[in-house]
């Protein structure tokens, strides 16, 4: 739709310090949020004409983030730091991406393959989750031959555990299939660790010059109290949330699986709420029991997202906070109840270290107990491969992700530190960069450290309210179809228009790519003419025009990181001391005027 030019793409420069909009800094992979918001805001209002533009915006996002359409359903970390938060609500970036996804995901299956010549080394990636895929995506585009060794029979890893009412299966499947097709990644399914041909040593013998271990956390964490494992986890009716979500995602569980059952879910994180809301949809009467307290602003608050908690309340789940589990009590081999002392604090200065008041206990009865208190990595594998230190911890450089014990091995994603999808993706990106440096004999650290500074809220006379998020009413959403409605084109344009574009132009350049401007003009100040009156300071909404004292005289200057080259200060200057350098608009004005007479 737009005649975009390649050289005007936004890019995050290698720099010691860089200014960015706060959303882009918050996003672990620094997505170009502002730029694509501007482009969405300029879409035509008729969907047929808008489609070409949507594909263009999508293609642009895809280069950096081949999961952006999935982010549109389940992420939204960027919204936590939006400057608009204090003025009515963050820009609904997640829903804007979901909107793009509604049109882009179909196109993905037709998207052309990239034509990279792969004449560099073979790299093995253990694990086909977001971290591994991201690493393979980047290395493939840089000419490496990448093979993903996936233990199961499908890619995507933990993404499949996200319930379908939040992330539709077809969107996920299409995204995964397209990703490996577009950049040409080899995948070996059923590649289980320990089986023939699948140890790090054997991979090396087969010619893989580097390995990225991104095997995630395939095992549920067992319930402990104090230092002891709580007994009764083998009772009939006791299960782990991870297993439930896994079976549901494979379609192995019928719709009324928990009908007329009282289900207790232990855990306060997002996965626990996923398990709880899933159990509710399977007909259960669900109670969530969490160590953490209700006050999310407190250090000991529930770790699950606010939206998850709200949705759970709406769906009639009972949430019991500040309770631990000391005993699982059964009868005749069948689960009956749990004994729950009050949790007085969850974290102390050393981290997770829950304290309980055992004089205040309650018993909660139920038919099913679902334990969802975290996941664990395959320690036996890591141990066997010699990737753990003498204290049993992963020996890995947290910056380069290179193993400290085996230089051709890189480790990242949930296996290293459990986090959000996009955090695993970030580790995939970092691992790819490290592997490239390692194989090319480059310095592993030089020039990689980035320091970002966020820009503040631009001054404005009025602010607008965000578009409403529409959820299907709880009584009508007890199924696994999406429960959130996406934005319409009109809503998306409106919402994108709200974006205050508070970031610097250098990291955006949307206006250049669509031909509004030729370049980001510098604002020059003629200090002879400048009287230091400050009219420009008043006119500038970005704190870019400032007064400084120079040789005893007050003059204005421009901070080019903040400047938007809008020309308002130039118009405001009463002494013609300010000018936009090389701006052709002024030539056009002159030419037009000269033709008048």
């Amino acid at each position: 739709m737009w005649k975009t030019t390649r050289d005007s793409g936004a890019h995050v420069e290698d720099a010691v310090k860089q200014m960015l909009p706060p959303c882009q800094i918050k996003c672990p992979i620094n997505e170009d949020i502002q730029r694509t918001n501007v482009l969405i805001s300029l879409l035509p209002e008729d969907i047929e004409s808008a489609k070409a533009g949507i594909i263009q915006i999508g293609d642009y996002l895809y280069e950096k983030n081949p999961f952006f359409n999935i982010c549109g359903y389940i992420c939204g970390i960027c919204e936590l730091e939006c400057n608009y938060k204090t003025k009515g609500g963050a820009i609904r970036r997640r829903l804007l991406k979901r909107f793009l996804s509604d049109y882009y995901t179909d196109y993905l299956s037709r998207k052309k393959k990239t034509e990279t010549i792969k004449d560099r080394e073979d790299v093995a990636i253990m694990g086909g989750g977001p971290g591994g895929l991201m690493c393979a995506y980047i290395l493939s585009q840089r000419g490496y031959r990448t093979t993903i060794f996936e233990a199961s029979n499908r890619l995507g890893g933990a993404l499949w555990l996200i319930p379908e009412y939040r992330l539709p299966r077809d969107v996920l499947q299409n995204t995964l299939d397209s990703l490996i097709r577009i950049v040409g990644i080899d995948v070996q399914y059923g590649a289980k660790v320990g089986e023939d041909g699948f140890t790090l040593e054997q991979l090396k013998a087969k010619g893989y010059k580097a390995v990225f271990v991104a095997k995630g956390t395939p095992y549920p964490r067992v319930l402990t109290f104090g230092r002891e494992q709580v007994e009764g986890q083998d009772l009939s009716g006791v299960m782990y949330g991870l297993d439930l979500l896994y079976e549901v995602s494979h379609g192995n569980i019928g719709p009324d699986y928990f009908k007329n059952k009282r289900v207790i879910v232990i855990g306060g994180g997002n996965v626990a709420f996923d398990a709880a809301r899933t159990a509710r949809r399977l007909g259960g009467e669900v109670t969530v029991v969490a160590l953490e307290c209700e006050d999310k602003s407190s250090q000991d608050g529930l770790p699950a997202d606010e939206e998850e908690i709200r949705a759970a309340w709406e769906e009639g789940l009972r949430i019991i906070c500040s309770r631990g589990v000391r005993k699982i009590i059964g009868e005749g081999g069948q689960f009956r109840k749990i004994d729950c002392p009050r949790c007085t604090s969850v974290f102390d200065e050393d981290g997770f270290n829950p304290q309980f008041d055992c004089t205040d206990c309650v018993e909660i009865e139920g038919d099913i107990l679902i334990i969802t208190i975290g996941q664990a990595a395959d320690k036996a594998f890591l141990q066997r491969e010699g990737l753990l230190d003498e204290r049993g911890r992963l020996a890995v450089d947290s910056f380069t992700l290179q193993s400290l014990l085996n230089p051709s091995v890189f480790i990242g994603g949930d296996v290293r530190r459990i986090g959000f999808m996009v955090e695993a993706m970030k580790e995939g990106i970092e691992a790819a960069e490290s592997i490239h440096r390692y194989l090319r004999g480059l310095h592993m650290r030089w020039g990689r450290k980035r320091d970002y500074e966020a820009l503040g809220l631009p001054q404005r006379t009025s602010y607008k309210q965000p578009t409403d998020v529409v959820w299907i009413p709880p009584e009508k959403r007890m199924h696994f179809q999406l429960f959130e409605r996406g934005l319409t084109l009109k809503e998306a344009i409106e919402e994108a228009r709200r974006c205050l574009t508070c970031g610097p132009c250098l990291s955006c350049k949307a206006c250049i790519s669509i031909g509004f401007e030729k370049s980001l003009y510098a604002v020059a100040v003629d200090e002879e003419r400048c009287s230091g009156c400050g009219a420009c300071v008043y006119a500038c909404n970005y704190d870019a025009a400032r007064l400084v004292e120079r040789d005893g005289k007050l003059v204005s200057e421009t901070d080019m990181f903040r400047c938007k080259s809008c020309g308002m200060c130039v118009a405001a200057c009463p002494s013609e001391a300010r000018a936009l350098v090389d701006d052709a608009t002024y030539d056009r004005i002159e030419t037009t005027f000269s033709l008048l007479s």
């Binding site: 035509p44 006379t461 228009r497 574009t501 006119a539 938007k564 809008c566 308002m568 130039v570 004005i589």
Partner: protein, 131 residues
């Protein structure tokens, strides 16, 4: 008087007016058209000079109120135009010769219409008094 064809200079904000149109084809329909990144960039000096060079009217098209890409450029120019009306009046130039319209028109279809309607107004006023 009857063959008087007013010359209207039209500044239009690129973020709200005609960004979906083909600029070349729109250009052929609008004489003396100057698309500009923000209506807030239109200097009082530009408006005065337009008259000096023989324009009979100046039309400025900006974003809807509260919608400026640069936060409040449209508002700044709206203020500027109001003040300028008083200055122009003292030169004997009728305030109707400088007009500002704040609206959204991605296709830019209304630009030629607005220029035409402004021409009609200015036609009634006659050629501008030279300053």
């Amino acid at each position: 008087m009857s063959d008087f064809e007013p010359k209207i200079v039209c500044f239009s904000c690129k973020f709200s007016w005609g960004y979906l149109a083909n600029e070349t084809s729109l250009s052929s329909q609008i004489k003396n058209w100057i698309p500009i990144i923000c209506s807030g960039k239109v200097d009082a000096k530009h408006i005065m000079e337009a008259f000096k060079h023989g324009a009979d009217g100046v039309l400025i098209l900006g974003c809807p109120e509260g919608d400026c890409h640069y936060q409040d450029g449209n508002f700044e120019t709206k203020k500027r135009v109001q003040l300028l009306h008083k200055v122009l009046d003292s030169y004997g130039i009728e305030p109707e010769r400088v007009r500002m319209e704040l609206s959204l028109d991605p296709e830019g279809k209304r630009i030629p219409e607005l220029v035409k309607s402004m021409s009609e107004t200015v036609r009634g006023l006659g050629p501008v008094r030279q300053i």
